[in-house]
């Protein structure tokens, strides 16, 4: 009898445990662990925020919900918004974290919890966006358009987004000589890395550390046997307005000779000014049309493979 009672006792204990297991599974249809205290779970959020939840399901961020390793399965909303139980019970907007209302650095910190350790953010310290309190959510819309606005891809959409803040830069593209952004042939991120870059003005790089301009202007890459110093020392923007200009070839001056003469100033001695290229190599009569555009003869102005004077 004692054995029978003992067997029955174990059977009952085992059976008693089953509903408990079932209860856990029933509360978490996705098979996740019980929610930590204070958390409401995605389904609770979706009950009120159905549009956002449906959009979120189509967003790349939905991986937070589906990938158990990330630690937020079943409560993806609260990965960014924090514990939402109190908000769910009270429906009080003040009782949940809204990243849009946080200071930029605090909002960024939420994003960087997952995204810091990726190659995207390796140039973050040099990013003027990070320094100027431009939060990630300024460009990356978490919920809108089914996640398609999380990262805009079409050149015209990228340009419109950047131009929203950089209006005066966008205005330069309306000048007659410009890189073809208004035409949709390029986008701002073809030349700039909005997350930061070690190159000046957050410009992109070609290969490892060469100027991003060379991504399209490969014929100017060299290395040349005879280099033109400014191209290497201060980059293309020494002579060109990269966004747009009224001057041909997007030059910084109306005539080529002024671009040249402002550095090659023909000073009688070399280093009184401590700068490079101030002494002329020979006589040029600027009254003769041939000499009014220096690049007519010095045609290899970006660097020459064969001629020290950049003539061929």
């Amino acid at each position: 009898m004692r054995n029978t009672d003992a067997a029955l006792l174990w059977l009952c204990l085992t059976l008693a445990a089953l509903p408990a297991l079932g209860q856990t599974a029933g509360a978490q249809p996705t098979g996740q662990a019980p929610l930590p205290p204070g958390y409401a779970g995605l389904e609770t959020c979706a009950a009120c925020h159905e549009d956002i939840a449906n959009a979120f399901a189509k967003s790349p961020h939905n991986i937070v919900e589906t990938d158990k390793k990330r630690g937020f399965a079943g409560r993806a909303c609260e990965a960014c918004h924090g514990p939402g139980e109190e908000h769910a019970e009270s429906a009080d907007a003040a009782k949940i974290r809204n990243p849009a209302k946080l200071a930029a650095a605090a909002a960024d910190k939420l994003c960087l919890t997952c995204h810091l350790n990726t190659p995207t953010h390796v140039g973050r310290l040099a990013s003027s966006h990070a320094k100027d309190q431009v939060a990630c959510t300024t460009c990356h819309k978490m919920h809108s358009n089914g996640g398609a606005d999380l990262v805009v891809r079409a050149p015209a959409a990228i340009n419109q987004q950047c131009a929203g803040c950089h209006q005066s830069v966008w205005a330069q593209f309306q000048r007659p000589n410009h890189h073809k952004l208004p035409e949709g042939a390029m986008s701002c991120v073809d030349c700039h890395n909005p997350h930061g870059s070690i190159r000046p003005a957050m410009t992109q790089a070609f290969g490892a550390n060469e100027p991003g301009c060379l991504n399209c202007h490969g014929d100017k890459r060299g290395p040349f046997t005879f280099e033109h110093g400014p191209v290497r020392f201060e980059g293309c923007a020494t002579c060109h307005e990269p966004h747009g200009s009224a001057n041909p070839r997007m030059l910084t001056r109306q005539d080529v000779r002024f671009v040249c003469l402002e550095c090659h100033a023909n000073l009688p001695t070399a280093n009184t000014t401590g700068t490079i290229g101030v002494v002329p190599p020979s006589f040029h009569d600027l009254r003769v049309p041939q000499f009014q555009n220096c690049t007519v003869c010095h045609q290899k102005i970006h660097g020459s493979y064969v001629d020290r004077d950049l003539l061929k």
Binding site: D51, N117, A126, A270, V279
Partner: protein, 710 residues
């Protein structure tokens, strides 16, 4: 038996306590059913967006309300997006057709005007999603194609191809023969460049992600350039052909606490430019640069020419990137980048004619010039930095950067001149060196006084040296060197008193003890300020101000430079849902540039001033009206606007680009559109380079999938 009964009763308690699981309001996809990917957002045809002015970005908090009503596609379809096809007519170009081609270059013909669509595979066989964008196909100057394909946790692939026409023929730019009545830009070209970029990432989402990529940049075409030898210059045709291939591969290791990216890559490069002049059968076909006025009793002419640049290059590079979250208050960032491109050149030139040797004041009849040269450019870049958060409201960032570039080259040449008595052969060996070492250290402190008020202060020190030399020496100087020393103070403030208003200002003040060039930044102040205000839910304003003042007071330089830009923009979209009836976005920008620096005229060494002024007014506007229509089809839409640019100063210019576009749904899946554009370009000093042209485009937009949101 009491105990088992008790236990059976207890067993029932949890069953009673168990509540039915709430019916899920959304279907959370399980691991075997990845989330359906995002729908491609319907973007307007590129032609419409061409001059779309910037929309004032709402404050970061503002989107919350609109996001909640974001247009989520109601159902899944294997295809969504649009395809625009049509035909463009260009009117006769009034004025300079060459200037039109140099600036606009759009032509007539049938075109694939734009396409942006997404294809989903519900069974997730080869891919989950493929997104395609294309525009400008049909002999437009900018033909683009982009494809993204991905399969969850297996791969992500992207391909980008662009075919860009580069045309430039502005006689005013380089016409040394204008005085003789010859209108010819001796720096002109008509080429096409082709860019291909392909990348494959494997195992996305995994902690280790290998990737491979290939990029190709090639250009070919023809142009006009100048053949220069001794004192002789002749405009000659040239052919251009260059190709760069970039191969790279690497691995990303992404862990919770750190990330490392290691990449190796290499390039091959070739440039086969050639310059030629065929022997002229008739005097009319003679080279335009022939000098018919005797010099030292003789005219000069170029009878024939063939010159080839045989340039080949290779390079390897290495890249190592690191980020690490060392502690909750400390993050590290580091990069090491190394590249070493090199080139070898075999240049061959043969010319005949009557040519003047400047050094000997003698004439010769033929020249053979051979050059073998090589160059190597090792380039090392390293950076290291940290972000520290010692207190809740304070962040400190510190970074250091070094960039070292050492170019060295050598060239051996043989120059044989015939027609002299005796013939002369000259050999030369030149060595060149160009070095720059750039360093930068910066520290910044950010203080969140409140969640709405952030202060930023920082200090940057920049130093470096540069040298440029060619040996043996020629002229007055064979080597130059300069030092860079600059102290920069940084400051900024961000104030967001409410969700509707945000203000930002930042300033940078630099003081230098040395700079590389006369026009480099020296003693400067840079200021930028921004303001955004959401006056109504439907009305946003933004203002932007930027100024740079740079002065170099060093005797012999005396450089003064000022530039200033102010922009004001507005976005108005009345109605409960944005754009329901109409919306308007417009921006006005005023831009000024003033530059003043002296130089000595290289002819007579008299002091001259290079004074540059540019005072520009730029406006862009776009007005969208949505006409009422059947709900299923959506209403017709009219878009009108464009841009204008008016400048005065050193190169007074006007450039107008108005446009009107009409989009009318004609079926459930088809819309008809028509567009008119006008280009009007004018210059005050070079009137003959102005042009005017109309472009009319009409076509059909196909939206086979769910109806695109207008």
């Amino acid at each position: 038996m009491t105990a088992p009964r008790l236990l059976l009763a207890l067993m029932a308690v949890p069953l009673l306590a168990q509540q039915p699981a709430p019916a899920p309001t959304i279907l959370a996809p399980g691991p075997t059913a990845p989330a359906p990917p995002a729908q491609a957002p319907p973007t307007p045809a590129p032609a419409t967006t061409a001059q779309a002015p910037p929309t004032p970005a709402p404050s970061t908090s503002a989107p919350a309300a609109t996001e909640a009503v974001s247009p989520v596609p109601s159902g899944e379809s294997w295809f969504s997006g649009y395809i625009d096809v049509g035909y463009t007519w260009r009117s006769d170009v009034g004025g300079s057709f060459d200037a039109y081609r140099s600036i606009v270059n759009l032509g007539s013909g049938p075109k694939l005007i734009g396409a942006d669509f997404t294809i989903l595979d519900p069974k997730h066989r080869l891919f989950d999603e493929v997104r395609v964008r294309a525009s400008g196909w049909g002999d437009d100057p900018y033909e683009l194609f982009h494809l993204d394909a991905k399969k969850s946790k297996l791969y992500e692939f992207s391909a980008d191809y662009r075919d860009i026409a580069y045309f430039d023929f502005l006689p005013s730019y380089a016409d040394p023969l204008l005085a003789r009545g010859v209108t010819l830009s001796e720096q002109s070209f008509d080429t096409r460049r082709h860019f291909g970029s392909y990348r494959l990432d494997l195992l996305p989402g995994n902690w280790i992600i290998p990737y491979l990529a290939y990029d190709r940049d090639s250009g070919s075409g023809a142009g006009v350039t100048t053949f220069v030898t001794d004192a002789n210059t002749f405009p000659v045709p040239n052919t251009l052909h260059d190709t760069t291939n970039l191969y790279r591969g690497g691995v990303r290791i992404e862990r919770r606490r750190f990330h490392v990216t290691l990449e190796e890559g290499g390039t091959t490069f070739s440039d086969a430019q050639s310059v030629y002049q065929s022997p002229s059968a008739t005097p009319a076909a003679a080279n335009l640069g022939n000098v018919t006025t005797p010099i030292f009793g003789q005219t000069t002419e170029l009878s024939s020419l063939l010159a080839n640049y045989g340039v080949h290059g290779t390079s390897v590079y290495s890249k190592a990137l690191l980020t690490a979250s060392v502690a909750s208050w400390l993050d590290f960032y580091g990069q090491f980048l190394y590249s070493e491109p090199s080139t070898t050149v075999n240049y061959q030139q043969a010319a005949t004619g009557t040519l003047l040797s400047e050094s000997q004041l003698l004439f010769y009849t033929s020249q053979q010039y051979l050059v073998s040269s090589a160059a190597k450019l090792p380039h090392t870049t390293g950076s290291f930095g940290a972000e520290m958060r010692p207190f809740r409201r304070m962040r400190i960032t510190e970074s250091w950067l070094t960039d070292r570039l050492h170019d060295s080259g050598s060239a051996t040449s043989t120059n044989t001149l015939a027609g002299l008595s005796p013939s002369e052969q000259m050999a030369a060996l030149l060595a060149s060196s160009l070095v720059t070492n750039y360093n930068q250290a910066e520290v910044d402190v950010f203080y969140d006084a409140t969640s709405k008020f952030v202060l930023h202060g920082g200090y940057r020190y920049v130093w470096g040296d540069a040298s440029d030399a060619v040996l043996p020496a020629a002229g007055l100087v064979s080597s130059d060197e300069a030092k860079l020393r600059r102290n920069v103070g940084l400051g900024g403030v961000t104030f967001r008193p409410s969700q509707k208003l945000s203000l930002k200002a930042e300033a940078e003040v630099g003081s230098s003890g040395g700079a590389y060039f006369r026009t480099s930044l020296y003693d400067y102040e840079k200021v930028r300020a921004q303001a955004r205000y959401q006056a109504l839910k439907t009305l946003n304003f933004a203002a932007d101000f930027m100024a740079l003042i740079n002065n170099n007071p060093v005797p012999g330089v005396n450089y003064a430079f000022r530039t200033q830009q102010e922009s004001l923009s507005m976005f108005w979209s009345p109605g409960k849902s944005p754009g329901k009836f109409f919306d308007f976005e417009g921006t006005y920008t005023r831009s000024t540039v003033y530059s003043d620096i002296g130089y000595l005229d290289p002819g007579d060494l008299q002091a001259e001033t290079s004074l540059y002024r540019d005072d520009a007014h730029i406006a862009t506007a776009l007005f969208n009206i949505k006409l009422p229509g059947k709900a299923a089809r959506g209403g017709a839409r009219i878009t009108a606007g464009g841009s204008l640019f008016i400048s005065s100063g050193s190169r007074p210019t006007t450039y107008y680009q108005p446009l009107v576009k009409l989009l009318v749904p004609v079926g459930k899946k088809i819309s008809w559109f028509a567009e008119w554009r006008y280009y009007d370009y004018g210059e005050v000093f070079d009137l003959y380079e102005g042009f005017r042209a109309h472009l009319m485009t009409t076509g059909l937009r196909f939206t086979p999938g769910p109806r695109a949101t207008p």
